[in-house]
Symmetry: C2
Subunit: 382 residues, 2 copies
DNA sequence: ATATTAAGTCCATAAAGTGGATTAAATCGG
DNA sequence: CCGATTTAATCCACTTTATGGACTTAATAT
């Protein structure tokens, strides 16, 4: 439902529009912003002044473009003051990063811990420690951390982690166990947003994050698609073969049974992804064939996903990123053979540059993007 | 990208918010609207006055609710003046309907024509005739038709019908061949919206429209999901069996090859849906088994769709509506067996009450809903 | 050196919503 | 049955925010 607009919310929204255009259009003059937004120069000037005062925007010198007439002074986002904290809990590590308003990564922490062996309380208290360290260090650099988001490997509904099978979590309400406010979201969702904001993906893509399970995040028009209950994107359980091997989800022939990390390693008799990469580089036939098969299955599942969700491009991330060289062709062939009749073009198949960093970056980016869309909260805080 | 708000657009938006709440909350008093929207009574009163003057809202008498204090006078949407035209071209008929602002169907026209035998120009000139008749008759009843939408059986991108295989259309730009402005959209999309606004579906569902092909429209939070190029929802080509029979799309084992109208009839050796229904009612084993198999395949495809798109409920429409009695159980069983491990609940499986009327109703409803969201265009026209 | 052009600021004005006061029309209690 | 209370709707002076034209500033062109 659309909300009513009042004078204060009009101003709040317009501040967000101006700040958003400053972000999109790099160094811009106030006059250009007025043109872009449709607001008057007066209004834009006043807003830019407020944003500068709040430390969110800075003047970046005169913009001499060779045209005649008085040159404008361009403004850009400033990373000096406002920042956000991105957190991730995964099976064998914790990580945190601090990102400023320009989306520059300012701090990065990582800690190897086996979280399967620990209780949610233990894990979260370790995480809190990491988070406090990050916030303190950020403050020493003059950054004010305006919010934080936590990525967890499992479906999340309104701050409640329903199940994170690989962590052994059930019904964990994270906010009850942390001493600072945090938003919680699914790792695959945040990884897709990370790819959107920090990677090279355009505004429409399906990001496949193959970790232990296989998740996917669909971004359409720069917005994450979440479905009715926030459970969309479970690519790992798309049916590849209705009579295939039983899956831990209760179904049969799910993609995870063909292209999941465990299935992949089992198929070539290896114990870890590093070993698999080594075998692939050595050209061992068993490893190559296992990848070929996994790629074909992934191509079949992606075909269904493309018909249903119509993504712009496909970005392979997580463990599929290092394996890209070897799975690209089988995936592409399986898709091309099935899709060309219905669509003029088969979606591009690309690889994520971010790998496992995508989720915490997306987590921090989510806060930053919310601030840029609605900077009034920061203005009022001062 | 969010647009800047100015005084005029603030008013335009708030008018839409007020009108939307009048629609949602049935007969409401001005005071209640002020509470709901967060605007003041003064503002709401002024807007309701304007909307009444434009004939979009009417007072519906005093609302005596037994509470003490002065009773309010309730207002409701008025269907007196504003209306929209919904049009449909399908393989063997043309249809048109006029719907007023309250979503009451005021006029309905239908014409049996074999559109496969006709050129797009012929078909569209017949359609124009039907449309003009509808608009004239509506005017005689005091209705002003504010816009129209046309449903076609095939993917549409910005007014261009790329291919409508069952009509034999290729690259038809409809607006060039009609003498009145019309929006064009895919039939499955509009059928889903018809189900949303005229049927009994809640705001989150996947509407499956099985006609010659099998399409689907996903509605999330009352909004249709279209994907990156408007091609989302091609349920008929979700892969059920990667090595199954070849499909006209170039793939193998698509759902259409198991549950499409042609496959279904071929499996039991019958020539039409009426005959199939008769056989089913007579309990003939061949027909029952064909339905059982089609239902299982549909259940497998829906399982993939649910994992990927997380719909609230599933609504079966088109030819699946009359077959519902016989396919419900196999579909449900196939879904339940595969889904229960991952989700607490399997989406409800319901049947559409609208059948083939869904698309033209959705077409007209789309115009009405746009007017309700942005009534300023109508106010200015007077 | 002067004309022209464009950027940014100033200021009076307009548009729209706010909030408290007022009037209207009910119910409640004695 | 009448006054007190309560809620609806309207009225009006005021606030917030954006507008638009005038003005100032700083560059290029002639």
């Amino acid at each position: 439902m659309t909300q009513a607009v009042r004078h204060d919310s009009m101003r709040a929204r317009n501040l967000g529009v101006v700040l958003g255009e400053i972000r999109r259009n790099g160094p811009v003059t106030r006059a250009a912003l007025a043109e872009i937004t449709g607001l008057t120069k007066t209004t834009v000037s006043k807003m830019v002044g407020d944003l500068i005062e709040a430390g969110m925007v800075a003047e970046s010198g005169a913009l001499r473009d060779g045209e005649r007439g008085r040159p404008g002074t361009a403004v850009v986002l400033s990373g000096r003051r406002v920042a956000a904290l991105g957190l991730e809990i995964n099976v064998d590590y914790l990580s945190a990063c601090v990102v400023d308003l320009t989306l520059a990564v300012r701090l990065r922490y990582s800690q190897a811990v086996d979280n399967r062996a620990a209780s949610p309380v233990e894990t979260l208290s370790r995480l809190a420690e990491l988070a406090h360290r990050a916030v303190d260090e950020a403050r020493r650099e003059g950054l004010a951390v305006a919010g934080s988001t936590l990525a967890v490997p499992g479906p999340v509904d309104g701050g409640l982690v329903h199940t994170a099978p690989n962590l052994g979590w059930h019904h964990v309400r994270v906010s009850d166990l942390l001493d600072f406010p945090v938003e919680v979201d699914n790792e695959a969702n945040l990884a897709a947003l990370g790819e959107l904001w920090f990677g090279s993906a355009p505004g429409d893509f399906l990001h496949v994050s193959g970790e232990i399970g296989i998740g996917a995040g669909l971004v359409v028009g720069g917005t994450l698609f979440r479905g009715a209950h926030g459970l969309a994107g479970e690519l790992g359980h798309v049916v590849v073969h209705p009579d295939g091997p039983a899956c831990r989800c209760g179904g049969r022939g799910c993609l995870e049974q063909y292209a999941g990390q465990e299935a992949l390693l089992r198929a070539c008799g290896l114990t870890g992804i590093p070993e698999l990469l080594e075998s692939l580089r050595a050209g061992e036939p068993g490893a190559l064939e296992a990848c070929e098969r996994a790629g074909q299955a992934l191509g079949v599942a992606l075909t269904s996903a493309i018909h249903l969700m119509d993504p712009g491009t496909i970005v392979l991330g997580g463990v599929f990123a290092p394996l890209f060289r070897w799975i690209r062709d089988p995936v592409h062939q399986a898709m091309a053979a099935r899709l060309t009749g219905m669509r003029h073009t088969v979606p591009d198949l690309t690889v994520s540059r971010l790998g496992s960093d995508a989720a915490p970056l997306g987590a921090a980016g989510q806060i930053i993007h919310r601030i840029i869309a609605n900077p009034i909260a920061i203005l009022l805080r001062r």
